[in-house]
């Protein structure tokens, strides 16, 4: 019955939203960024460490939480400019609904494209990451 909805809320998403792998505020980090969606109260903090270590504290819906976690996984060991490029590619996937083979697990969020108002949920962690990178640049 729920086959279609499972396109969006597939196992990977449910799993990562219930038990994220990259959650928690690290003891040390080089910059942080925030994302907030006033409409629904979603809130996420992203912590960046030089060398490409990213962690998150996500409070909100499954899509946003899973997206934060899959982001942290995807950007591991990437440079800031690679992260920025990845953000562009990811946003393309969640707005177009077309998967991008280069993006791996991030493609799990492609189904969000059908819900314009949920796209914000998927991209919110990336907004927070961008803020962190900007801060990292200034202070780093």
């Amino acid at each position: 019955m729920m086959s279609e909805s499972q396109e969006l809320y597939q196992a990977l998403i449910m799993e990562r939203s219930k038990a994220p792998h990259f959650a928690g505020r690290p003891e040390a980090f080089d910059a942080q960024g925030q994302g907030e969606n006033a409409m629904c109260g979603d809130r996420v903090q992203v912590f960046w460490q030089r060398g490409g270590v990213v962690r998150h504290e996500a409070h909100g819906c499954a899509i946003m939480t899973a997206s934060a976690d899959l982001m942290a996984q995807a950007v591991a060991e990437k440079t800031p400019s690679q992260m920025t490029a990845l953000r562009g590619a990811f946003e393309e996937v969640v707005t177009s609904g077309r998967e991008n083979p280069a993006l791996g697990d991030l493609n799990a969020l492609a189904g969000v494209a059908q819900y314009r108002s949920r796209i914000r949920c998927a991209t919110l962690p990336w907004v927070a990451l961008a803020e962190a990178l900007k801060e990292g640049q200034v202070h780093g």
Partner: protein
């Protein structure tokens, strides 16, 4: 008043959209508190104007204009009768309830209220009945006070007493039915309470007007506002009722054609109410459509509508109570068919999206009542709301959908 039997199958045929499918499923529309669907009679009335009898109103002497003006003003009569206003001149047409409240804040608020006076609102207001008063506070030096509600979502009378204690309150602006908790407020008692303390009362009737007969004279309320689109009527049309002597004393809000008696560069003479408050070409077609919506609900009668919706609400509460860990917000004695709820782990947005995949439309978010979310200790809720066309089966479908979601997120 009721001239038509309340036959749900027949009624549902009046609303063309209810036959639509969403994601290959039958549409189950449980978002009528945000905006209701439109019966054929309303659509037809609007089409008729545009196809057969349209021109700008009031200013024309020709047949099309006179007939259109007649139909426009007949809608005013219908609204006046619907609210049992004392006079048709007490009905002002606006875009929506939001404009109606802003109109009162800009005009009555900036003349009848003085810096140092206070306005009281409750903790369960829609932003439309909060932010205009914040703007008045910031622009005009009026104090804004918040009357608490109880955990069950009812007026906390002790808190209300306390807000009024120093005699500074000149206006109580309060909802007649919460769009989140479904609570009705005891309007008559509130009005008597405020009047006894020298304050006027504005009731935000956006939700209440859809479910109950409202008699502004019996309530003795000073201002009553609602939107057409929630009452099965068109978008773009709202109503402000105000007692004649209050309207008489209010300066205009917007200026332009229609609201003027005479104009010269030095001095402009305002028209009498209600035209003083209707600047420019009004929402002619929508106003006439609102008249048709009122005819529609009156033909069914609020007695029958309320009985149907009462049964739906009871059933809905029972269905929701059957879902493990689901929390329904509020538990007012007097509550209508607006049910907000949360589930642990499953965020309101996830609930709404997952239900949507099954064709079930509910709303999720703060419902334009952020402070109330804080008061109830949540950031967002899912909300199912019922209308005269809602069926028991639709509520069962909601229950089944929620059960599945509960499984997923467990």
């Amino acid at each position: 008043m009721s001239v038509r039997e309340f036959n749900l199958d027949e009624i549902r045929k009046d609303f063309p959209i209810l036959a639509q499918q969403v994601h290959g499923r039958k549409l189950v529309f449980l978002d009528s508190a945000a905006s209701a669907q439109k019966p054929r009679a309303v659509i037809d009335a609007m089409v008729h104007v545009m196809e057969a009898q349209y021109a700008n109103v009031h200013r024309g002497l020709h047949w099309m204009s006179e007939r259109t003006s007649d139909a426009y003003e007949a809608a005013r009569d219908k609204v006046a009768a619907f609210l049992n206003a004392q006079a048709r001149e007490e009905i002002v047409f606006t875009r929506n309830a939001t404009e109606s409240i802003n109109l009162v804040a800009y005009t009555h608020g900036r003349t009848a209220l003085r810096p140092g006076d206070a306005v009281v609102v409750s903790e369960m207001e829609h932003h439309a009945n909060l932010v205009p008063w914040q703007m008045l506070r910031d622009a005009h030096g009026v104090e804004l006070r918040i009357a608490k509600i109880t955990d069950s979502g009812e007026i906390d009378w002790e808190s209300l007493e306390a807000q009024f204690a120093d005699g500074k309150v000149k206006l109580l602006a309060i909802t007649h039915m919460s769009n989140v908790l479904g609570s009705y407020t005891p309007a008559e008692r509130l009005v008597a309470f405020a009047h006894a303390r020298g304050a006027k009362v504005l009731l935000d009737g956006c939700q209440a007007i859809v479910h109950r007969a409202v008699d502004v004279q019996a309530l003795d309320v000073d201002f009553y506002v609602f939107s057409g689109h929630k009452l099965y009527g068109p978008t773009g049309i709202g109503v402000l009722y105000a007692k004649r002597e209050l309207l008489d004393a209010m300066p205009p809000f917007m200026a332009g054609g229609e609201m003027i008696e005479s104009v010269s560069y030095q001095r402009t003479k305002w028209a009498q109410p209600p035209h003083r408050f209707e600047a420019g070409t009004p929402a002619i077609v929508e106003t006439i459509g609102l008249g048709a919506a009122i005819d529609y609900v009156q033909a069914l009668g609020f007695e029958a509508i309320a009985a149907h919706e009462r049964a739906l609400t009871e059933h809905g509460l029972k269905v929701l109570a059957g879902i493990e860990d689901l929390r329904v917000l509020g538990a007012a004695q007097d509550r209508g068919g607006v049910l907000s709820f949360t589930m642990p782990d499953a965020h309101a947005h996830d609930i709404a999206t997952l239900l949507d995949r099954q064709g079930i439309a509910v709303r999720a978010g703060h419902h334009c009542a952020e402070p109330l979310m804080g008061r109830m200790g949540v950031t967002a809720t899912a909300r199912a709301s019922f209308a005269l066309y809602t069926t028991r089966e639709e509520i069962d479908a909601l229950g089944a959908g929620l059960l599945r979601i509960r499984q997923m997120f467990k």
